[in-house]
């Protein structure tokens, strides 16, 4: 009940509204029973054990299902009130959504070109402008100081944690309205993770952030609201603080949040 009420309460100014949602790979259902809304300028986190369907959920939000054979979703997802199934130009949709993968995927290009890729795709040609964007995004991803002298080096030659921050910078270079982070901190050290969490708190003034995380405490530190996914179902959605205080519908949720799971 709580979740439904909250979903209603944010629905007015929601960035994302998901209803009767399920994801399927061929005949296999990876996730079902998802009804939730994500408000503009909030950090919404999704937690849950492996195989819960968290990544599958993110992949539908930027319509990667259209590029994955056998993958499809049911139900509706509204982005700014528009049904993303009826979105005619999916490339335009994806340009508005930044994505960070769990394992860093540095494109086989220089550090500079990695970050300049999205601006170039949207037609930015002037070197000055590109340089300005690249620097701004690298600074925000807490990477500028480490790579400013090696912008022409291959992105894939950076350390794992640096590559991960490179992909964050690349996602930011899209000037996204929605940022999807899939376990962004598994390749990053705790100090840098903290730095990036601070950056996310800054960024939410400009964009909406949905973050899948295995670190329950990370969800607690920075997210406004959260959802708990388990075994291909969305168990519940609620205010992060309230849920950690024990205001949950399902005992499993609390067990998971308190680390007493399984």
């Amino acid at each position: 009940m709580v979740a439904a009420v909250l979903a209603e309460s944010v629905a007015g100014d929601a960035k994302i509204v998901v209803k009767k949602f399920s994801v399927h790979y061929g005949a296999y259902t990876a996730l079902s029973g998802v009804n939730l809304a994500v408000a503009r300028n909030e950090i919404f986190s999704i937690v849950g054990p492996a195989n819960a369907g968290k990544t599958s959920f993110l992949r539908v939000l930027n319509r990667m299902d259209a590029l994955t054979s056998g993958m499809r979703y049911e139900g509706t997802v509204r982005f700014d009130g528009h049904d993303i199934r009826k979105w005619r130009n999916l490339y335009a949709l994806r340009r508005r959504i930044g994505v960070v993968f769990p394992l860093p995927v540095g494109l086989p290009l220089s550090v500079f070109d990695n970050v300049a890729m999205a601006p170039r795709l949207r037609g930015v040609r002037h070197r000055d402008e590109l340089e300005e964007i690249v620097e701004r995004c690298l600074r925000r991803a807490a990477l500028w100081g480490e790579v400013k002298d090696r912008l022409t080096a291959l992105g894939s030659l950076l350390s794992g944690g640096q590559q991960q921050r490179l992909t964050i910078a690349r996602a930011l270079s899209q000037d996204p309205e929605l940022l999807l982070l899939d376990e962004f901190s598994i390749a990053i050290d705790p100090v840098t993770t903290m730095k990036i969490e601070d950056v996310l708190l800054e960024l939410k003034k400009e964009m909406t952030i949905i973050m899948v995380t295995n670190l329950v405490q990370q969800a607690r530190r920075i997210s406004d609201r959260m959802a708990f996914f388990h075994k291909g179902r969305c168990v519940e959605v609620g205010e992060t603080a309230a849920m950690f205080d024990g205001d949950v519908r399902d005992e499993q949720t609390l067990d998971y949040l308190r680390g007493r799971f399984g």
Partner: protein
């Protein structure tokens, strides 16, 4: 102190044995190559000269050079490449990057593999029917080159497709999430990382095209034609056919002559490959993951 167990020692012995066995196999590969080259150089080199490469054949092909055949082979290969590389690469891009995994795609893939197994004499007959007669190109460089192109198309498609598939899928996905279209992804990420493999396919095609005799015999290569073709609609001499003719059809050919032609044939393959090999080395040095 660490003591190697019997199992450790056995594994180490097997390891050494396998390494020696693989090395042996690899060295055995080199033997026939060296033997062939050795015989050719031994018997053919004395007949090779600058004049041999730049003069026309004389006295019923028992003397003189191979200039028209040399130029003819180069022309045949280049026209064949011009036809097959764009078509083959485009088909491979479609199959690897766009085609949905349906029965039709699988059928096409199966057809390509079978096409690669068709004997070259069958391609020759197809070439006569299709290019010489149906399209009315006559026996000409164009008809012969197109026949060669059809014959080598499967090689180009398969090798290109495989090198495209070798590019990690994560790169494509990362690119797509930035809002790139499939084509932008192919152009900026996939092709630059597959180009070295694609060139390998082209090298294979060149090698095969230079040596083929049957497909050009009925479609455009002439027995004896001691001047250069003026356009792609002319016939031409070709080194492979020339070699066949002087070794089997013409009496009183000096013994060194066929060997010299064969040596020149191999030299043509090497020269044509050298450019793309050099290109590939440069690209491989830039390989990025």
């Amino acid at each position: 102190m660490f003591q190697a167990t019997a199992l450790n020692r056995r594994n180490a012995r097997i390891e050494t044995g396998m390494r020696v066995a693989y090395l042996g196999m690899t060295l055995m590969l080199i033997v026939p190559v060296l033997l062939v080259l050795g015989v050719l150089i031994d018997k053919g080199a004395p007949a090779l000269s600058w004049e041999f490469l730049t003069e026309v054949p004389l006295k019923g092909m028992t003397e003189g050079g191979i200039f028209p055949a040399l130029m003819g082979t180069v022309a045949l290969v280049l026209v064949a490449l011009l036809a097959s590389v764009p078509v083959g690469v485009a088909a491979a891009i479609y199959l690897s990057e766009y085609a949905p995994n349906t029965w039709l795609t699988r059928l096409v893939n199966l057809a390509i593999i079978n096409l690669a197994g068709v004997p070259s004499i069958v391609h020759a007959l197809f070439g006569v029917g299709a290019f010489v007669m149906f399209f009315g190109f006559g026996t000409s460089i164009l008809a012969a080159s197109l026949t060669l192109a059809v014959m080598t198309l499967p090689v180009v498609i398969v090798s290109t497709r495989e090198s495209l598939r070798a590019v990690p899928q994560e790169f494509r996905e990362a690119c797509w999430t930035l809002g790139a279209t499939r084509w932008q992804t192919i152009w900026r990420i996939v092709l630059p990382n597959a180009i070295s493999g694609i060139l390998t396919g082209v090298i294979l095609e060149v090698s095969r095209t230079v040596g083929e005799t049957a497909p050009i015999m009925f479609t455009g290569a002439a027995f004896f034609l001691p001047f250069l073709p003026q356009s792609v609609f002319d016939q031409t001499m070709a080194m492979s056919l020339h070699l066949f003719v002087i070794s089997t059809q013409v009496p009183d050919v000096p013994e060194a002559l066929p060997y010299a032609v064969a040596l020149a044939l191999i030299a043509v393959v090497l020269v044509m490959n050298a450019a793309s090999i050099a290109f590939r080395v440069v690209l491989r040095r830039r390989k990025k993951w």
